[in-house]
Symmetry: C2
Subunit: 361 residues, 2 copies
């Protein structure tokens, strides 16, 4: 019986592909284990892998304890698929090692997203691209892009996307476990203090450590996520542009993004101004979103129904609301999108890509 088989057991799972999860102990890895335990069970053996520092622990996947093994070439022996949820330097070093051993790599890091010969895949938008992987590596977009691309892709299919102006409201989780922990620690320090927030710098002096953020996050917003790119743009802002162009196969798409961190734990939000080739109609756009797999329309402001990060965290879909036609441009649409940055924004998209491959094998 499959239900009594351990995570490494092939009992009842004969002939199914072996999966290696690299980075099983991180924030994304924890969600991956949860997804592997709750989605359709398509794998034979599942191996949990982490850095030597985090290895040796026993974690649960598919309801059974599994020892976390340290990253080394042998973790890919006989592995059909590997999901990488690790920092960029680790992905850059080890994804080619896995691919050279015949393992199909699904990488959630930024390293290969814009690389030629590496497809960038969002299963609801361009699932067919998984088959064209000359380097044996498939990349998953960054969490800001993943927070919007399913909804925007559906609208593009109908109206023909020409331009995006995006402002983000990104959660602490985009900076991993230390981001989430930093926000909780800062909230604990400032939570009950009514003297704060009145004078310049008083929050800066009260929150304690900034952790991975360049400024206080509690009681604040920080117009900076990622690293510094060219001409004052951040890596996240450039990533939204490059990744959207690649996923939608629109190399000339105009994209201007501003990425801002907000004191929210795990769900990202995006305010999107989208300009299309065709005229847009509000009710039709709402119907397209409501009918798209992976998108939930939540758009009834008369009843205070619009997506907020606190209401969508922990769920899989992209939530869409505040859908409005521009008053000054019949081809422009405004909308507000929310999604869990660790689920569709990272682990879920990688798990969906891996399932596409597992099904094909």
């Amino acid at each position: 019986m499959a239900s009594t088989a351990g995570p490494n057991s092939t009992d009842g799972r004969e002939g199914r592909p072996t999966l290696t999860v690299v980075g099983a102990t991180g924030a994304v890895g924890a969600v991956l284990r949860d997804l592997l335990s709750t989605r359709l069970d398509v794998y034979g053996e599942i191996r949990l892998v982490a850095s030597p520092r985090s290895a040796g622990r026993t974690l649960t996947v598919r309801g059974e304890p599994s020892e976390v093994v340290p990253l080394g070439p042998e973790v890919f022996d006989g592995a059909d698929i590997a999901i990488f949820a690790v920092p960029p330097p680790v992905a850059a070093e080890w994804a080619p090692v896995a691919a050279a051993r015949g393992t199909v790599v699904v990488d959630a890091s930024p390293v290969f997203r814009t690389s030629p010969g590496v497809p960038l895949v969002v299963p609801e938008v361009n699932p067919e691209r998984v088959r064209d992987r000359p380097r044996g590596i498939i990349a998953s977009p960054g969490c800001p892009t993943l927070s919007m691309i399913v909804a925007i892709g559906a609208l593009h299919h109908r109206y023909g996307l020409r331009e995006l102006v995006v402002s983000s409201y990104q959660a602490a989780s985009g900076a991993g476990r230390s981001g989430i922990e930093t926000l909780y620690a800062q909230m604990e320090k400032v939570g009950g203090d009514r003297a704060l927030g009145n004078r310049a710098g008083d929050v800066r002096g009260a929150v304690g450590e900034f952790g991975p953020f360049p400024a206080p996050l509690a009681m604040n917003v920080v117009p900076w996520t990622g690293s510094l790119g060219a001409d004052g743009w951040t890596s996240d802002e450039l990533g939204i542009r490059d990744e959207t162009r690649k996923v939608l196969r629109l190399p000339a798409l105009k994209v201007a993004a501003t990425c801002v961190r907000v004191p929210v734990t795990k769900a990202h939000s995006l305010s999107v101004h989208a300009v299309f080739g065709d005229r847009v109609e509000q009710r039709e756009a709402q119907a397209i979103l409501a009918g798209s797999p992976g998108v939930v329309l939540c758009d009834n402001p008369e009843s205070h129904e619009f997506p907020t990060p606190a209401d969508v965290v922990g769920t899989d879909p992209t939530w869409a609301g505040r859908v409005r036609c521009s008053l000054d441009d019949p081809k422009a649409l405004e909308l507000f999108l929310c999604g869990d940055s660790l689920r569709k924004g990272a682990a879920l998209n990688a798990a969906q890509i891996a399932e596409l491959i597992a099904t094909e094998l």
Copy 2:
């Protein structure tokens, strides 16, 4: 000696105009009293007025105690100027009463902002408009518009503004004292709780009262400020469009705004995508902002220098950073702006308008 004269004394202030402050006990009124006590002293008598419920208290202005008197027609007797910092219904009823008695009204409410015959004034941008006031009323824009209009006006002067796409990060203070108090109370409830922010709805269940907001604000962002307007737009979003068009005298300006509340006490932020008639150059745009009265350029991301609400709260200027030229449109510029919503966003702009009139009298 002026320094020993009370707030109602004309000792040393003979011949100066009398000012009535209607709404002296509210969040904006408190900042107004602070500004009247610290800016150049241009007034003779200053009368503090509030609703009958809040009247009778003794508050300080210009370093001296002053009794708050209840609102009635007589508070405008002999008053040259009245600043209204009151809810819309009170402004709608009483501003015409004051104007009929010859008092020049400076109204911070939305009631008259788009009314014909009422100038909408931002002293750094269109000070000359105060003179053309056939109804005796001058309106001050809303706090989202005021958070950007000085910076955008300076850039418009050089490049010729054609289009704005704005996403806001608005503080609790936009909803007045109850907004600020609600945020503090919610922060107190959730501040130390690391279990929150992981599952949909857990923050909703933990924050207590929502106060003036349609959803939890602590650990969340809420894509809704103001009241419901036509076609799903909010009053704040329509206000940014109408007010910017009126102040800049650009009746055909394309404006698309999305207004979002964030868990910050008092300073608003705006992400702005501005399209101009002329080509934009990054360093020149930065120099224009740095050289504009009322604007401070804070734009050195290599050193983590960009404006954040926690760092600008309590200050007067508009802070500008993250200035970037679009990668896809040589006439488009991105920037991030922050300002105190109660100072330049409300009380300071009204005080500046009143000073223009006081100086002219």
